[in-house]
């Protein structure tokens, strides 16, 4: 029912999201970073003092908008459904290592598309790793992987993460001294669009993603599992519209929003192997979680506390990554980061095996 309408909807949503992402860069976000769920959660963690990397500290309104946009539309459509209880601590750990993978690559799957649309060919290695990670996850899905069922919860449980986003918005606007903000010229954290524009962008994209179930992982997963291309259409549409906007902005303004090549790309490094392995870890973990970081934010807005726990895992991963030198920089990956990614792949594989092949459960 409505398959063609659904494809048109996700095509239009993807095109709109790509344009919004490109516009956010025009309005002040770092280049190729109109949206990056990993980077923006990392910046927010820094603003709250959870890590001390002074160059990446800012409460990103896009994150607030994504959760609230999903929450508002889900409530309006009577789809808000507080639920949880499906292996929350396992999801926390998976979220933690998904972030480690993202910060090895320097971007979430959403930013991977935006990097490709900006001509950053390093993201091709990330894409290869990402697809391999998804295939690994799909293998376990078809062999019986499950984190078991969710349960209905009191409404307040589902509303807590959206409420926390409102608190973060108040902190961003009030800017009390205990919140850390990267100083002007001090790094990517200082580069941002005006609050109202970032918030509006987040709200629109959050609502569109809730309506269409847009998911960077789900698109490839559905093609492999069902030969169903619908979600992947959104993925491709974001790439196309962001690419076209970047080319137009480069031609029409003094800025450079598209540079084809490997070296000198904004907030990126050229180590192909570790770009690929970082995104392999991300893709693998996201399939086991049931969605990419963007999707986890959107599901949190719909009242899914398992996704909220995953988001908290992502934030914890970001804090660890910067406190212990695991995150890459433009100069490349760190030794600590490489060790963390290998550990992450092993841990995620163990979680996959344990929840696939071991069928006995604890007895009361």
């Amino acid at each position: 029912m409505g398959l063609k309408k659904g494809k048109t909807e996700i095509l239009v949503a993807g095109l709109v999201i790509g344009i919004i992402a490109a516009l956010l860069v025009l309005f002040g976000n770092p280049v190729n970073m109109g949206f990056c769920i990993a980077c923006f959660l990392r910046d927010t963690a820094g603003a709250l003092g959870l890590h001390q990397a002074a160059n990446v500290q800012y409460i990103r309104p896009e994150i607030i908008g994504l959760v609230l946009g999903s929450f508002l539309l889900a409530t309006f459509r009577k789809e808000f459904s507080p639920k949880g209880g499906s292996a929350p601590l396992t999801r926390f750990v998976l979220g933690f290592f998904v972030m480690i993978g993202c910060l090895m690559f320097l971007g979430c799957p959403f930013r991977m598309i935006l990097r490709l649309a900006g001509g950053d060919l390093n993201a091709v290695f990330g894409m290869v790793g990402f697809v391999c990670g998804i295939l690994l996850g799909v293998f376990f899905l078809t062999k019986g992987y499950s984190l078991k069922r969710t349960y209905q919860l009191p409404a307040l449980e589902g509303r807590l993460l959206p409420i926390i986003q409102v608190v973060l918005l108040v902190l961003l606007i009030a800017a009390p001294v205990f919140i850390h903000f990267t100083e002007a010229g001090g790094g990517p954290g200082a580069l941002h669009a005006p609050i109202i524009i970032s918030l509006a962008a987040g709200l629109i994209v959050g609502a569109l993603a809730q309506k269409t179930r847009l998911c960077m992982v789900g698109g490839i997963r559905d093609v492999v599992l069902f030969r169903e291309w619908k979600l992947l259409i959104g993925f491709v549409a974001i790439f196309v519209s962001a690419l076209v906007c970047n080319l137009i902005f480069t031609a029409a303004t003094d800025g450079t929003y598209f540079t084809l090549g490997f070296a000198g790309q904004p907030v990126a490094h050229t180590d192909g192997l570790w770009n690929a392995l970082g995104m392999l870890l991300t893709g693998f973990g996201c399939v086991l979680l049931g969605g990419c970081p963007l999707r986890q934010l959107v599901l949190s807005g719909e009242g899914n506390t398992d996704s909220a726990i995953t988001v908290i895992g992502l934030v914890a991963g970001a804090a660890f990554a910067h406190n212990f030198g695991l995150a890459s920089s433009g100069e490349g990956p760190t030794a600590n980061g490489k060790i963390a990614v290998v550990i992450g792949i092993v841990v995620v594989a163990l979680i996959a095996c344990f929840n696939t092949f071991r069928k006995d459960t604890a007895k009361a």
Binding site: L141, K148, Q152, L225, K230
Partner: protein
Amino acid sequence: MTYIATFYSHFGAMHFKKQCEARKMTARIMPVPRDLSSSCGTCVRYEGEEPCPSDTWSDEVEQAVEVTAQGYRTVYRAENS
């Protein structure tokens, strides 16, 4: 009659499809239709006289609906789901 069942895991859907096929019911695995749910999991669309292809509903089944001209009519929903 045409039914759609949704599940807590992809494997649950695969198992359910096998149950349907064992009873000679036409069944196929597909993504959950958006107008049925905002979740992006796996469902089984199947044809049969009875909505449940086994003696009892599996623990993996979240809900089952009958596809009607007016939309979906819920025939089963797991407790506390």
